[in-house]
């Protein structure tokens, strides 16, 4: 039996106990933070680049698809083994290998959590900038594969701007070091195309990241609005005034209420929206910046602007923002996280239209988003047991993405395509555009074994497998 032989061959590489194949175990690995499910044939715990390479070679010999899995927090079905096969559990490769302050780089294994890296760097006086709200449970490998963003990406850029090199196991099992501590490696930017490839170009087993000196000063403020439109106008006004805050985050009333119930961070329950604005850098002009931003917020209708008076208050605000997705789980048994982007100035318009979509499909849609980036996350609440409602949710989700594209934006700002948005790719790309992307997949993974069945509309995807 093919599966039995596959499992035997895998055990030869990583040892018996590091391969799971029982039904219960397979059920544990059949889902992630998205809504669909599919069981793998085996799950393998890997501990080194060589083991990963060995496992991938076995998959090649058996024609078995393979899917790396980090924290499983991705919201697009990236870790669901769409065609079965082997899931590589990366979580044990979780060491910080090197902090090279002199060259401003750190080397980490992919199973390390984003927050763990931050915590490990802080005593050295350094930080790693991308900070997805899921940083407690999301791994560096997952961040790389999804090109994750986070609140501080408005000023500092997303994962791809901070990953300088990688060790990867390519889909045929070859190990390659791409990029590295030195800049501008000759040749195609393999590191650049690997970031955001959602596990479809192979497996990252080591990451070289840029580290940045901790800022000399940080100030965090909360602007409170009675109108969500005025709040989103203020976002554009702040940027138009030539300010580059570190973060420009927004939460609406439903989200604020949920957050207050679960975290109690002192947000006003009766307002329409809050903006969390942080400025950082040299301490000399932070006061000045805060004042200028507060003035703009007030001019644009803020009823109150509060500046966090100490680290504890700052931490509270961020706990509220980072806990927002979790808190919203209190509002309904399930929700679909939408992840579209629009040019920043289109925010007021798109928010109005999202509200209309909610009305049209009779669905509640709280909003929490990276406003500075024009990256919105409408959270469509529903009950997964209600089949008819789920259909309405999917329609509403698609409509919101269509809106984003119409307004000059795109279908995913940070959560990726995965299984969720394969068809939505057609909203923002022509057939030729998609063919050119499929060509890249074919070049890197000619046998279509690395996380297959993702990323492209089903029709295009068939062409992938030639």
């Amino acid at each position: 039996m093919a599966r039995k032989e596959l499992v035997e061959a895998l055990r030869k590489i990583v040892g018996k106990t590091n391969v799971l194949d029982s039904l219960v175990d397979m059920q544990l690995y059949q889902y992630d933070a998205y809504l669909e499910e599919r069981r793998p044939d085996a799950v393998v715990f890997v501990h080194s680049t060589e083991e990963v390479s060995g496992v991938v070679k076995v998959c090649n010999e058996h024609g078995a698809p393979f899917v790396p899995r980090g924290g499983g927090t991705n919201l697009s079905g990236g870790t669901i083994p769409a065609r079965g096969g082997v899931v590589l559990e990366m979580i044990r490769m979780n060491k910080l290998l090197e902090v090279d302050k002199a060259s401003l780089r750190a080397r980490v294994q992919p199973g390390m959590f984003n927050l763990e890296l931050g915590t490990a760097l802080a005593p050295h006086g350094y930080q790693y900038m991308p900070d997805p709200a899921s940083q407690k449970a999301a791994t560096m490998g997952g961040n790389v594969a999804e090109n994750s963003g986070g609140p501080h990406c408005f000023k500092y850029g997303v994962t791809t701007n901070h990953v300088m090199g990688m060790t990867v196991v390519l889909p045929d099992g070859e190990i390659a070091e791409i990029g590295g501590k030195a800049p501008d490696t000759p040749g195609y930017d393999l590191c650049g195309i690997f970031v955001g490839s959602e596990g479809t170009f192979g497996i990252c087993t080591e990451v070289v990241v840029r580290i940045v000196r901790l800022s000399e000063g940080v100030k965090t403020m909360l602007a409170i609005y009675d109108s969500i439109e005025r709040g989103s106008e203020a976002v554009s006004a702040i940027v138009a005034a030539g300010m580059v805050p570190a973060t420009l985050e927004m939460m609406d009333q439903l989200v604020i209420q949920a957050v207050e119930q679960s975290i109690h961070c002192g947000l006003p329950l009766d307002c329409a929206t809050v903006l969390i604005i942080e400025v950082d850098g040299l301490k000399d002009d932070l006061e000045e910046q805060c004042k200028a931003i507060a003035d703009i917020c007030t001019t644009h209708g803020a009823r109150e602007v509060r500046v966090a008076k100490d680290d504890a208050e700052r931490a509270m605000l961020w706990a509220g923002r980072r806990g927002a997705f979790g808190a919203v789980a209190r509002l309904a048994p399930s929700y679909l996280v939408c992840d579209g982007t629009v040019p920043r100035t289109a925010l007021p318009q798109v928010l109005r239209k999202v509200a209309e979509v909610g009305k049209k499909y009779d669905l509640k849609i709280p909003n929490v988003f990276h406003a500075g980036d024009g990256n919105l996350h409408p959270l469509i609440l529903f009950d997964w047991r209600d089949k008819e409602q789920k259909i309405r949710v999917m329609k509403a989700g698609t409509e919101i993405l269509e809106l984003c594209v119409q307004l000059g934006g795109t279908i995913s700002g940070e959560h990726g395509v995965g299984l969720e948005k394969m068809d939505a790719m057609k909203l923002c790309f022509s057939d030729a555009d998609i063919r050119s992307q499929v060509a890249l997949k074919r070049a890197v993974d000619p046998k279509d074994l690395a996380n297959p069945g993702k990323m492209f509309p089903v029709t295009a995807e068939v062409a992938c497998a030639v």
Binding site: A182, R213, A240, R344, D433, A443
Partner: protein, 455 residues
């Protein structure tokens, strides 16, 4: 593969008009690529014409080499073929400037300098500052991922491109990315074409994100008696909270060239460290003070660059090789190493030049690990000189490689290119790169032979 030049020429003339097709037969034509003279040059006027021109060349089996401002044409190996040079300078339209969203879309032939002028009127800036910015086109900037001193704080073209349009080697037009600052819809195709040097197709349109222009600029130059003092100042800077926009290290020869322009007095064989400061008045003034103190503590004589002179001073610094005799009588190479190895590489390159008796200048983007070295060979260098320089460059390359870096020849006379690969030993992942190349350009018609590994 032989093809019919006359037939291709009339096809191209039908697409772009006879005025925009020329024979490229002159031996010293500036269109020659490392001495290889193309049979034709063609200047399409629209993106659609680029697509048709490429399709026509492709159908004829003619090798194509795109050309923007011509400032990076020296990078790479001698092409194995060059049938048609495709000039992109007529694609000079601004497609859309969206100041409120800090974003601009331009055709590939728009010059970086012209773009800066356009956006400056709205108080915005694209903080990418390679030399020759008045000549560099946006397409070329992207295709070569050119950068300058301010990559320290902001990164390179790779960090600013939001989207682009590309004509693939068969003439098909595709678009990558979009115009929002976050975008993970599908693969990050921008990265595939950035730094691909025209080997995977022709970039015809670029969308970049912009930044608000800083309220104030200033700079500080420190003149250090020794290299080790200068590198100590660099290290101290990187360890501090200070956030200079640029941090360049200049060897004594580069300082001699720059001294009159920067009004430094007699540099007296000193190494220089120059910082560019940008931001609000309070942060710039504070940093200027702190750098004066920091540099003095490491033994430097300090020359502040006042606000009024900062921009022109930095233009001189990044264009310092412009003060040397021009190509083809010189060799320019770019050495990329981990940040902490930059100072030693700068010293080694300068010492090599001296030992060979060649006029040499070396400077480094010291907080980024990029070292630029120029060696002047003169009109008719002796065989011995060329061999000597080749040996030195190969030794430098080995040293860079041992540190995990590279040395790339960016300008060199054909005599040297004939003996030395422009890129060095191919990096890991070459097999994937070759598969990518043959997937997009199966008949190797786009800038063939110029890239690494024979691609």
């Amino acid at each position: 593969m032989p093809y019919d030049v006359t037939a291709l020429r009339s096809r191209l003339e039908a697409i772009v008009g006879p005025d925009h097709v020329a024979a490229g037969t002159e031996a010293n034509s500036p269109l020659a690529v490392d001495g290889v003279v193309p049979a034709l040059s063609v200047r399409p006027g629209t993106q659609d014409e680029v697509s048709k021109v490429v399709a026509a060349c492709s159908a004829a089996g003619a090798a194509m080499i795109p050309r923007g401002g011509g400032t990076a044409m020296g990078i790479g190996n001698r092409p194995s073929r060059a049938d048609a040079v495709i000039l992109l300078d007529r694609l000079d339209r601004v497609v859309e400037f969206d100041p409120a969203n800090l974003c601009i879309t331009v055709e590939a032939g728009v010059r970086l300098g012209a773009l800066q002028e356009k956006i400056a009127s709205d108080g915005e800036v694209l903080p990418i500052d390679p030399p020759d910015d008045e000549k560099v086109t946006m397409g070329g900037l992207v295709a070569a991922n050119q950068s300058g001193p301010s990559r320290l704080l902001y990164g390179t073209a790779r960090d600013f491109v939001l989207g682009m349009r590309v004509v693939l080697p068969d003439g098909e037009r595709v678009h990558c990315g979009g115009r929002t600052i976050k975008n993970v819809s599908g693969y990050d195709m921008n990265k595939l074409f950035i730094k691909s040097f025209g080997t995977l197709g022709i970039v015809t349109e670029v969308t970049v994100k912009l930044l608000p222009a800083p309220v104030m600029r200033a700079g500080v130059v420190g003149l250090f008696p020794t290299l080790s003092q200068a590198t100590a100042a660099v290290t101290r800077t990187l360890e501090s909270f200070l956030l200079p926009e640029a941090l360049d290290l200049l060897d004594p020869a580069a300082m001699d060239l720059l001294a009159p322009r920067l009004e430094l007095g007699a540099p007296g064989g000193a190494h220089g460290v120059a910082v560019a400061l940008a931001g609000s008045r309070s942060t710039v003034e504070r940093q200027a003070r702190d750098f004066e103190t920091l540099f003095r503590a490491e033994g430097a004589r300090v020359v502040p660059l006042p606000e009024a002179r900062t921009v022109s001073a930095w233009s001189s610094i990044r264009n310092v090789f412009g003060l040397l005799p021009p190509a083809p009588s010189r060799v320019v190479c770019k050495i990329s190493v981990p940040i902490d190895k930059g100072g030693a590489m700068l010293g080694a390159a300068g010492a090599d030049g001296k030992a060979l008796g060649l006029q040499t200048a070396v400077f480094a983007h010291a907080g980024s690990g990029v070292v630029w070295a120029a060696f002047v060979l003169g009109g008719r260098p002796s065989e011995e000189t060329v061999t000597g320089l080749q040996r030195s460059l190969e030794a430098l390359r080995q040293r860079a490689a041992a540190a995990g870096g590279s040395l790339v020849l960016c300008e060199a006379p054909p005599a040297l290119k004939a003996r030395m690969d422009a890129w060095g030993a191919p990096p890991p992942g070459l097999s994937v790169m070759k598969r990518i190349k043959s997937e997009y350009d199966p008949r190797a018609l786009c800038s063939p032979g110029r890239y690494l590994g024979g691609m």
